[in-house]
């Protein structure tokens, strides 16, 4: 996906800022020589990423950052509830463990949206995405509660909201 022009430059700048922040936070150096070496390696990485043509809205999705930040607290709560559910299933499996494989709709339009949804499903204990097809996820669930929670479609709706309106964002 070779999207050049202003948006490409914007993504390259944000990649460089992100790398610089990561580099500095991991090293903590303030010696000029080392900082210069860090800046040089960042420039090299951005150049290589540009050559590989991976600096785009998909590899570096800055356009969903804000909506993603509002999605995280909800996902955190879901993960907590799912953890309790699975811990209960481990400690007393009788009557609780009810494995199932089912298909569920994925209303996201872009691949990035599908990735967010599929990863959210897998990150939540009790449900694992087995396969992603066009608009459909095949999911393995450990308990009835986990399966029903996913079938209600709230996570799907929220992931679609994170994705936003892809046409406008690009």
């Amino acid at each position: 996906m070779g999207r050049r022009g202003n948006i490409g430059v914007l993504h390259a700048i944000s990649l460089a800022i992100g790398l610089a922040a990561l580099w500095w936070l991991l090293s903590g150096y303030t010696i000029p020589l080392i900082l210069a070496l860090g800046a040089g390696s960042i420039a090299l990485v951005v150049y290589i990423a540009h050559r590989m043509d991976v600096i785009d809205h998909e590899g570096h999705p800055i356009h969903v950052t804000w909506r993603w930040a509002t999605y995280m607290p909800w996902l955190g709560k879901e993960i907590l509830m799912a953890n309790i559910d699975v811990v209960k299933a481990v400690l007393s499996p009788k009557g609780r463990v009810h494995t199932s494989v089912f298909r569920t709709k994925a209303t996201q339009k872009t691949e990035l949206g599908h990735v967010i949804y599929a990863n959210s499903i897998t990150l939540t204990p009790g449900t694992v995405t087995l396969e992603v097809e066009d608009g459909v996820m095949i999911v393995h669930a450990l308990t009835r509660g986990a399966a029903d929670g996913l079938k209600s479609g709230e996570m799907d709706r929220r992931c679609t909201a994170v994705e936003g309106h892809p046409e406008e964002d690009r």
């Binding site: 990561l22 936070l25 991991l26 903590g28 993960i79 907590l80 799912a82 953890n83 699975v86 811990v87 299933a89 481990v90 400690l91 499996p93 463990v97 009810h98 494995t99 199932s100 494989v101 089912f102 298909r103 599929a118 990863n119 959210s120 499903i121 897998t122 990150l123 939540t124 204990p125 009790g126 449900t127 694992v128 995405t129 087995l130 396969e131 095949i138 393995h140 450990l142």
Partner: protein, 114 residues
């Protein structure tokens, strides 16, 4: 406000975290098949690791170490579902089919060995 408060907070997070790791480990052994075993492993990946890392953050205080711990947490959250999904796909393409309680398990009838 001295170190004792942070020590207590650390214990409050690390002990439940450790218990979750043990429960997750037990679950990985006692569940019936490889697909069911992935779910307790998810407990270790998410809440277990999270609690332990947050507990450790109280020890390191406002320093670069805390930021590193937060980064570990973030990377864990992005990579662990990907790894779990890859494992599930590998099992499916190796011909392992999940044991299910549900009768109408037609969802995978087409795929599975692709």
């Amino acid at each position: 406000m001295d170190q004792t408060v942070f020590d207590i907070l650390t214990w409050l997070f690390v002990i439940p975290g450790g218990l979750l790791l043990i429960i997750g480990g037990v679950g990985m052994i006692t569940m019936r098949d490889v697909f069911a075993r992935m779910h307790p492993a998810g407990v270790i990946d998410t809440l277990g690791a999270e609690l332990i890392l947050v507990g450790l953050m109280f020890q390191s205080g406002l320093s670069i170490v805390t930021i590193k711990l937060a980064l570990i947490l973030a990377f864990l959250f992005f990579t662990s579902p990907t790894a779990t999904h890859a494992l599930a796909r590998a099992c499916l393409s190796a011909g392992v089919t999940p044991k299910v309680d549900e009768e109408k398990s037609t969802a995978l009838s087409r795929g599975g060995r692709s």
